[in-house]
Assembly symmetry: C2
Homo-oligomer: 345 residues x 2
């Protein structure tokens, strides 16, 4: 655990870990950060003290606004880097950080390396939908993507859906501006052709549109990192707008306030269902190791959820699932190119 | 008015026009479509009968799934095409259609032509935000855009904000995956440089992110048609998900239902505020004429809103505003290129 990443670290991280010790009593933690700050926080929490295997000391921290390249070069002793090193050295099964996303991706790629058969790692997370939950990727690791990247994202997203959502055959959709076969740019057309040819029958749904994310039309929504990041934040922004408007509505009159009081237990359930903290914990897919990124501004409860995502992935043999799925994909690609650029696969 | 476009045309269109006659008593209509269907619908509504100048007869209709190129070639006698022709022939100040978006754009470009100084027209609409309303463009006319297109969208979006939202100096943001100067792809970087140099002080806000749309950080959000379309539909999908969940919440228990009854007047206000029909009416910017596209699945109230958008644009000299703003932009571009590809402007 990068104990120093995030707006309210290390306090938020330590309290998050404490919540996680209750949920996952079998899990043990290595905390990386300033020992002088961390030990007093851990010492006074008995349950956590028992779950912490080790505190790895460092005073260096990657700043929230640091460029990834700078962090990579001069952050060799940072809490983020040393936390990733724990995974590399097989002392830990996963790393969780609420620090700088770009730096975390750059360091993770450098230290853990990209999985064989993967061109570029991606960031995935899940979303609440009308039918349950949907995985979406890439959420911002790759601003521009080609067909090969999109196909790999689909395979990795499927493995993620199997591990975290427990689905046997997750369905996949490519995010586009229309569901007709002719829509969108070239990389999308090509990725669609390849997925149609390489995926088991019925698993590839075809193109989906922005509103299909919340509808839960498919289990895995695949897109480039630019579009995915904007869709994610647009959904978050819209949700926040609704929450704010709803709050305003109940303060509108005395009757409305009374109405709120009566509906409160039901409202709390709704609130819990859409609580962004429940969806905290984005996963870096395609690396030789499990890396989970928490929102920098989350609180202890949100951080505990990110820890939960890491626990799920580690326990469900996620890395092995991705690996064998990628091998299967390589085997299923026909010898004759199915599209002009298919040869690069 | 293309009286035959949309899922429930011509009934929906005629009833929409009837609502509009009450809101804008000064406006007159030319209805294009099947006279045998239209005349009985108009005849029995006195107020509408008085507002309809003419019914232009045709039996040809552009299908919802027709390819734009096919519609352009073989739809010369369609209600959509003849309605656009009314604007070209200066018989009408604006055209409103709830038909096939791609066909409407292709025909509008062909008949009305792109404005001098505009490379590609864009689709714009407004969104509810925490601060009021925000214009976003392009919403799907151009899947891929270069810096020049984005700069032109910014200028046209400003003119739209002035005409429809009544803002004196609308602020502009470029949609990106981060607000830092270094984020995003090349076209965004270049467009940002150009806008910073050509816009009056303070008007160009810089990069904005997905959540800034609902926050209302800027008055005009500029993006390419791929991203804009997905952001629009993601926001719509999230809004629909919330509405559905909220409905479920109030049905959750007897107390919650009672709570709803008490809060109902306030809830109705909220519902009205976020009613998608209120935001119906996307505008095609950059053409020598006003073209408003209504959602195909809207009802009469939604269609009346789309008519309202057309009325606003026509009354506020929108075409003239865009024209002079574009001229100003051309003048303000410095003689020495401000970025490698600036010379194409």
């Amino acid at each position: 655990m990068d104990a120093m990443g995030g707006d309210n670290a290390p306090n938020m991280v330590v309290r998050g870990a404490l919540i996680a010790t209750k949920r996952y009593p079998q899990v043990r933690y290595i905390m990386v950060g300033d020992r002088a700050l961390l030990e007093p926080l851990i010492e006074r929490r008995r349950r956590l003290r028992n779950a912490v295997l080790d505190v790895v000391h460092t005073e260096q921290v990657v700043r929230a606004d640091e460029k990834p390249s700078t962090a990579l070069r001069s952050g060799r002793e940072s809490s983020m880097r040393l936390a990733i090193d724990q995974v590399k050295e097989q002392k830990a099964d996963a790393v969780v950080s609420a620090g700088n996303t770009g730096a975390l991706m750059a360091m993770s790629k450098f230290v853990l390396k990209t999985m064989a058969g993967v061109d570029r790692p991606a960031i995935a997370s899940f979303f609440p939908t009308m039918r349950g939950e949907t995985v979406m990727l890439d959420l911002g690791a790759n601003v521009q993507c080609d067909a090969r990247n999109l196909v790999e994202f689909a395979v990795m997203g499927c493995a993620f859906g199997r591990s975290v959502l427990g689905l046997t055959n997750p369905t996949i959709g490519l995010l586009n501006v229309g569901s007709e076969q002719i829509k969108g740019h070239e990389a999308l057309q090509e990725a669609s052709d390849r997925l149609r040819n390489s995926m088991p029958n019925g698993q590839f749904h075809g193109f989906v549109e922005g509103d299909d994310i919340a509808k839960g039309t498919v289990d895995v929504v695949v897109t480039d990192g630019f579009t995915g990041n904007i869709a994610l934040k647009t959904a978050e922004g819209t949700a926040a707008l609704y929450t704010k408007m709803l709050r305003g509505t109940f303060k509108h009159s005395l009757l409305a306030s009374l109405g709120y009081l009566l509906a409160k237990p039901a409202m709390m359930k709704l609130r819990k269902r859409v609580d962004p903290r429940r969806y905290n914990g984005a996963v870096f897919l395609g690396l030789n190791g499990i890396v989970v990124k928490s929102h920098g501004g989350t609180d202890a409860l949100g951080f505990a959820h990110a820890i939960g995502v890491a626990v799920d992935l580690a326990q469900h043999g996620f890395l092995q699932t991705i690996k064998s799925d990628l091998e299967e994909l390589t085997e299923s690609v026909p010898a004759t190119p199915i599209a002009p650029r298919a040869a690069v696969l």
